[in-house]
């Protein structure tokens, strides 16, 4: 898989670690990025605030170069992505404006370019299964608020790779990395964008509301795919804490940084120490907690296996006891000593003809009942029918033991 690559201006400056981790992400997942030849700035907000034609011509010059490569063009920055998608939309749907753009550029446009975002590539073009397969250090126990902001999901007719109100692509990627993607309500609310710089009286409350909702929803960090969102959430967080007198302490990461780290990279190689809110410590905490969780899970699995073995052995003993010591048991408990042959036959027939219904009677869990059905053979049917005719509880224990045995066998096969 190969893409034309439009890094955008901020990846040389404030978004430097986004560029570093983007290159690592491509290397790890095995896709190639070829930087667009002599690309120019998309004009960003200043462009579309000043002159419509110019704001379309600037990205269109890049699109003209990109369409000659025959590859889709990936733009890490959400604003660059939006400007190029917008120009693409106009070129494809507005012939009059397309002609004007061509006059400004003195170039003919085919309208065949396709600008894609990194989230689209990760979640839809590469897929979370392929990502999960590369994970060596899963981010288990990380509680991440996936923050999409505005321009990756809006306007819908220009973006369209994810839901505008409750997008999921980043959540899926984070889950593939082993993290917990928390539910929260501000995942597509505006961070204040340029307002935080030009009009802090407007921008700061907007930024504060995003940070506060992440915190209140149980997030321990925020994940983003936009350099301007990063700048605001990370660099301005200390100022916001001071202004609103509230400790937020939320490290912010690019999704590409976390992907590289979960796939074995040292945090330093993707520039984690360049963040303003201390971001290395939380990764250490997650590492320790992930190791603890792994150890606990392994211990629980071992205990469960031992218990199942014990239970199976006990069931066997009990079943054997039920047969040999039947008269004694009958005396002490008043049970029927010998299984009634007619009843045994009836259970055998029922188990053969209607295994699903009978399995449900023996095993409460639906999935486990299914397993029981799949492993019912003559020998097991005989044993279960015997026990059912004598003592239903014993039959249930034996059925559970069969299922556990099978699950264990399957587990060993997978290993």
């Amino acid at each position: 898989m190969k893409f034309s690559y439009y890094p955008g201006c901020s990846l040389d400056g404030s978004g430097i670690e986004y560029g570093m981790s983007m290159e690592r992400t491509a290397r790890i997942l095995g896709f190639e990025l070829e930087e667009l030849e002599d690309w120019n700035c998309c004009g960003a907000t200043s462009g579309h605030n000043t002159d419509q034609l110019l704001s379309l011509a600037l990205p269109a010059r890049n699109l003209a170069i990109a369409e000659k490569t025959g590859m889709s063009m990936m733009t890490p920055c959400a604003a660059c992505y939006s400007r190029h998608r917008h120009a693409e939309h106009v070129i494809q749907h507005d012939p009059e404006m397309k002609k004007k753009i061509e006059q400004v550029l003195e170039t003919e446009l085919q309208g065949t370019s396709e600008t894609v975002s990194i989230l689209d590539i990760l979640a839809n073009k590469i897929g979370t299964e392929a990502i999960a397969a590369k994970v060596t250090n899963p981010l288990t126990t990380m509680k991440a608020a996936c923050y999409y902001g505005c321009l990756l999901v809006r306007p819908v007719e220009h973006t369209g790779f994810d839901d505008a109100e409750d997008p999921q692509t980043m959540d899926k990627v984070m889950k593939a990395l082993g993290a917990d993607a928390i539910e929260w309500s501000h995942k597509t609310e505006c961070c204040g964008a340029a307002m935080v710089t030009s009009r802090p009286d407007v921008g700061n409350p907007m930024l504060y509301r995003v940070l506060k909702d992440a915190k209140e929803s149980g997030a321990e960090c925020i994940v983003t795919a936009c350099p301007l969102c990063m700048l605001n959430l990370d660099m301005r967080q200390a100022k916001i804490e001071k202004q609103f007198k509230e400790k937020l302490d939320l490290p912010v990461y690019y999704v590409t940084e976390l992907l590289a780290i979960a796939c074995g990279d040292d945090p330093k190689t993707v520039g984690i120490e360049k963040h303003f809110v201390e971001a290395g410590k939380y990764l250490q905490i997650v590492k320790v907690r992930a190791a603890e969780a792994k150890a606990a899970a392994e211990k629980a699995a071992a205990e469960a296996a031992a218990k199942a073995k014990e239970k199976a052995a006990a069931a066997k003993d009990k079943a054997a006891a039920g047969k040999t010591k039947a008269p004694e048991k009958a005396k002490s408990e008043g049970d029927i000593a010998e299984p009634d042959p007619k009843k045994v036959e009836a259970f055998k027939t029922a188990l053969t003809k209607n295994p699903a219904k009978m399995a449900a009677k023996l095993v409460a869990d639906e999935a486990q009942a299914g397993i029981l059905v799949s492993i019912l053979d003559e020998k097991r049917i005989g044993k279960l029918a015997d026990l059912m005719a004598t003592d239903m509880e014993l039959a249930k224990t034996a059925a559970a033991a069969f299922v556990t045995e099978e699950l264990k066998r399957q587990g060993e096969c997978q290993d």
Binding site: C9, S10, D12, G13, S14, I16, D38, W39, N40, C41, G43, A44, T45, S46, G47, H48, N49, T50, D51, Q52, L53, L54, A57, L58, R61, K100, Q103, V104, L105, E106, C150, L151, R154, P155, V156, A164, T188, E189, C190, G192, A193, A194, M195, T197, S198, R199, D201, V202, G203, P205, M206, R209, M235, E273, K274, F276
Partner: protein
């Protein structure tokens, strides 16, 4: 905010201007039935003199001069939430964008925003790319806020987040021509 507005029929000039704004924005204000969904979802409405719904109402009433003078158009962060949620398909964000450009032409723009945009685009015109450090310095100098965000400058440099020299593209002559031709062709309307 002055809620009482004296209504008088829009002049021919105002009607023409509104039609131009609607065409450029690719939307029609008469589609709006004033439900207020745009304002409800607007993250910046709390700071606006006329929230989005009222800006549209001003346009519907032909009061385009008031709309162009509204502080709201400079408070809009272009987050596109209004357009995404409008049940009538009015592209409010695009209208805000168009009105900002119109206000700029009429000299009604917020001076700080206008200064920033000018500095930004001059970067693009001369180098083909933006140069964040130089841009902020120039913005601070022209707006007389010399020490704005200064406390962030040094930490950014330490983190290697400030380029020392502007990056230049090869096609700088082409960039200048694009700017010139866009200005010439854009002014034809």
């Amino acid at each position: 905010m002055d809620m009482a507005i004296k209504l008088s029929p829009a002049t021919e000039e105002q009607k023409k201007l509104l039609a131009k704004v609607e065409k450029e924005a690719g939307t029609s204000v008469n589609l709006c039935y004033q439900c207020g969904k745009c304002t409800a979802g607007c993250p910046a409405a709390f700071a606006m003199d006329y929230p989005p719904r009222q800006v549209i109402r001003l346009l519907q009433l032909g009061l385009i001069d008031q709309a162009l003078r509204a502080e709201s158009i400079w408070i809009c962060a272009s987050c596109e939430t209004c357009s995404a949620r409008c049940p009538r398909g009015v592209d409010i964000a695009s209208l805000m964008d168009t009105m900002r450009r119109q206000a700029l032409k009429q000299g009604k723009a917020d001076k700080r925003v206008a200064a920033f945009n000018k500095a930004f685009l001059s970067n693009v015109k001369n180098f083909g790319k933006t140069f964040e450090a130089g841009l902020l310095l120039r913005y601070n100098l022209t707006t007389g806020q010399l020490f704005k965000d200064m406390e962030l400058g040094l930490p950014m440099m330490i983190r290697g987040k400030v380029g020392v020299l502007p990056e230049r593209i090869k096609a700088r002559e082409e960039m200048k021509k694009i700017f010139e031709r866009a200005e010439k062709l854009g002014g034809d309307e």
